[in-house]
Symmetry: C2
Subunit: 327 residues, 2 copies
C-alpha cells in the first residue's frame, strides 16, 4: 500500500464567521491534509448552527486548548483586532498557527509574532490569500529575469457591497481601502523580479472617518533595478463593475510579447490580450497545502513586505480630507 499524503493533522478554527464557513471548512475537507477537530465561536454557535456534526464548539481558544491538549494546529479567522493575542496564545501553547491577512495591525506586532513563533519553535504561516492563484504563479514565472517597464494596479470596489456596515474598517487601525489594496500589494511583491519603494502617495480620508477611502501610490524600483515604475489606484467607492487588475508592461517575456494583464483579483492572466490562464478560485486549498508543507519542513512563512509598503505609504504620503462617508 502506498501513501501519497501524510497523515492528517488536527486543526481548530478560531472565529467561525463568513471566511471560516465559506473558505476554511471546504478547503480543509477538500485537501484532506488536516482534520477539523474543533471550532471556537465566542457567540456560542450550536452544532446545528455550525453544520459540522459532532465537531465540538468552544467559547474561547483558551477553553479549546485546555480541552484538546493534543491539538496540532490552529487557524485564526477572527477580525484583526483580537488576532495578535490569540496567535501568541496558540504559539505559546505549542500549536502551529495559520493567520489571515493582514498579519498584524503594526510592523512592531508582526516582529513580535515572529519572535513568538521562533521562541515556541512552531510554524507560523501568515497567508496572503491572493497569492494562491495559478495565474499569479504563472505571472511570477514569466517575469523572472524580465525587465518590467511599468505596472499599473487598479483595485476599485464598492465597500458598501463587500463590507456593509463594518465600521471597524474605517476606524483607526482598520486599514480602510488598504484592506483590499494590500491584496494587490501582496501579489505585486510576489510577482516582481526586484523590490519597489514607495516614492509618493496620496491618502484621502472621509471627514467623519479615520482611514483612507481612496489612495494612489507611486512606487519605483531602486536605481539600476530591472523594475521601473509602479502606480496603484485604490478606491472604495466603485459602483457597478468591480475592478481588481494589474497591468504589466515589459520589454518582452521570452518569445512572448510584452504586455501581461492579471485580472479578476489575480485569477486570470492574458498575454498581449490573449487569455492564457483562467482557473476557478482555489486559494484556500493552496493555503492549507502550503501550511502542511511548512509544518513538515519545520519552517515558517511570514512576509512583511505588503504591510511594509502600506506603512511606507502612510509615512511618506500626503493625507487629505474628503467627503464624509455614510453607509
Amino acid at each position: 500500500m502506498t501513501r501519497s499524503t501524510p497523515a492528517p493533522l488536527t486543526v481548530g478554527i478560531v472565529g467561525f464567521g463568513k471566511i471560516a464557513r465559506d473558505q476554511h471548512v471546504p478547503a480543509i475537507a477538500a485537501t484532506g491534509l488536516f482534520r477539523l477537530a474543533a471550532v471556537v465561536s465566542p457567540h456560542g454557535a450550536t452544532p446545528e448552527e455550525t453544520g459540522l456534526g459532532d465537531v465540538p464548539v468552544f467559547r474561547s481558544q483558551r477553553e479549546m486548548l485546555a480541552a484538546l491538549p493534543g491539538l496540532d494546529s490552529v487557524a485564526i479567522c477572527t477580525p484583526p483586532a483580537v488576532r495578535h493575542a490569540l496567535t501568541v496564545e496558540a504559539l505559546r501553547a505549542g500549536k502551529h498557527v495559520l493567520i489571515e491577512k493582514p498579519p498584524a495591525a503594526t510592523l512592531t506586532e508582526l516582529r513580535l509574532l515572529l519572535d513568538a513563533a521562533e521562541g515556541a519553535k512552531r510554524t507560523l504561516f501568515a497567508a496572503w490569500h491572493s497569492r494562491f492563484n495559478a495565474a499569479v504563479e504563472e505571472t511570477r514565472r514569466r517575469l523572472t529575469g524580465a525587465t518590467v517597464r511599468h505596472v499599473a494596479i487598479t483595485w476599485k470596489e464598492d465597500v458598501r457591497r463587500w463590507h456593509p456596515g463594518q465600521d471597524w474598517i474605517f476606524a483607526a487601525g482598520g486599514f480602510g481601502v488598504f484592506d483590499p489594496g494590500i491584496n494587490a500589494l501582496s501579489i505585486l511583491t510576489e510577482i516582481l523580479p526586484a523590490p519597489v519603494v514607495v516614492r509618493d502617495a496620496e491618502l484621502r480620508v472621509p471627514a467623519n472617518r479615520d482611514t483612507p477611502i481612496a489612495a494612489t501610490l507611486r512606487m519605483e524600483g531602486a536605481a539600476g533595478s530591472t523594475v521601473g515604475t509602479v502606480t496603484a489606484d485604490f478606491d472604495f467607492l466603485q459602483e457597478g463593475e468591480q475592478t481588481w487588475t494589474i497591468a504589466i508592461e515589459t520589454d518582452g517575456v521570452g518569445t512572448d510579447g510584452g504586455r501581461l494583464d492579471l485580472t479578476h483579483g489575480g485569477t486570470r492572466l492574458s498575454v498581449d490580450g490573449v487569455p492564457v490562464l483562467a482557473e476557478p478560485d482555489a486559494e484556500y486549498q493552496g493555503i492549507y497545502r502550503r501550511f502542511r508543507h511548512l509544518i513538515a519542513d519545520a519552517a515558517g512563512d511570514v512576509d512583511a513586505r505588503p504591510l511594509q509598503l502600506v506603512a511606507d505609504a502612510c509615512l511618506v504620503g500626503r493625507w487629505r480630507t474628503t467627503d464624509a462617508f455614510h453607509w
Copy 2:
C-alpha cells in the same frame, strides 16, 4: 611599546554641512580612531572654507571614490533625500558606512540598505545619536529586570529655532515633528526591558503642509510584559524653555526608588528627584568608537525599531488638520 588603540582607518565625510562641522570633524579628531581623508561638498567648498588644511574636497562621492580607491570608510552627513543612493553607492564600492538618523525614508528602503551591506560584506552603522549618552546607558542598566509601570515622553521644541526655513521637514517624507521625536523613540527602545506597541496616535498636520507639527502616541507593552503604558507628546511649536524629557515610573530599581527622570535630551539622569548623572554631550565620540568596533568585528548595527514605531503611528493614527504654519 604598547598600543592601546588600533591604527586609524581613513574616512571621507559626504555632505559638509552643520552636523559635519560641529560634530563629525571634532569627534574624528578627538577619538583618533579614524583619519579624515576627504570631504565631499557638492557646493564646492574651498580648503579655506572647510578649515581642514590639506584635506581634499570633492564635488561628489563618486569623484572621491574614484580618486581614493584605498579609502576605508564613509560618513554620510547629507539631508535624508539623497542619503539612500549615496549609502548604496559607498557600500557597493566596498566602503564601511556610517549614516545619521533617520536611516531611511521608508522601511522598505531600510531593508534594501541591509541587503546592500550584506551583499558587500561591509559594516553599515545606522547611528541613533541620542543613544550615545552616558545617562541613557545608565538608565538602560537600571531598568534591566525592572517592572516599568509608566513612561511619559515630552519632546517639545521650537522648529523655527532648530530648523529655520527648512521646508523639507514639512514636505511629504520629511517626518515633521517625528524628526526630533524619533530621537526620543530611539532612547525608549534602547532603555526599556521589553518592546512596546503603538495602540493609538493623533497626528496634527498644518493645513498648508504635509507632515505633522504635533503628535501624541499611546503605546503599551505586550500582555504579560514587564512594561506598562508609554505616552509620547511631540510638539514643534514650543517657545521659551525647550523640553526633551523621559519620565519613568517603576516598581523600584534595586535598592533605589521608583522614579527615573532622563532629561535634556538624554544627557541627565535623576533618580527620585536626585541628580545621579550629568555629562556633557559626547554623542559623536561614542558613535565613532562604536563604528570602529563594528568594523573590527566585521559586524553591523541597523536597528529599525524607532522607524517602525513612527511608521506604526502613521498606520494606526488619526490624522487631523490644524492651523497653517508659516515661518
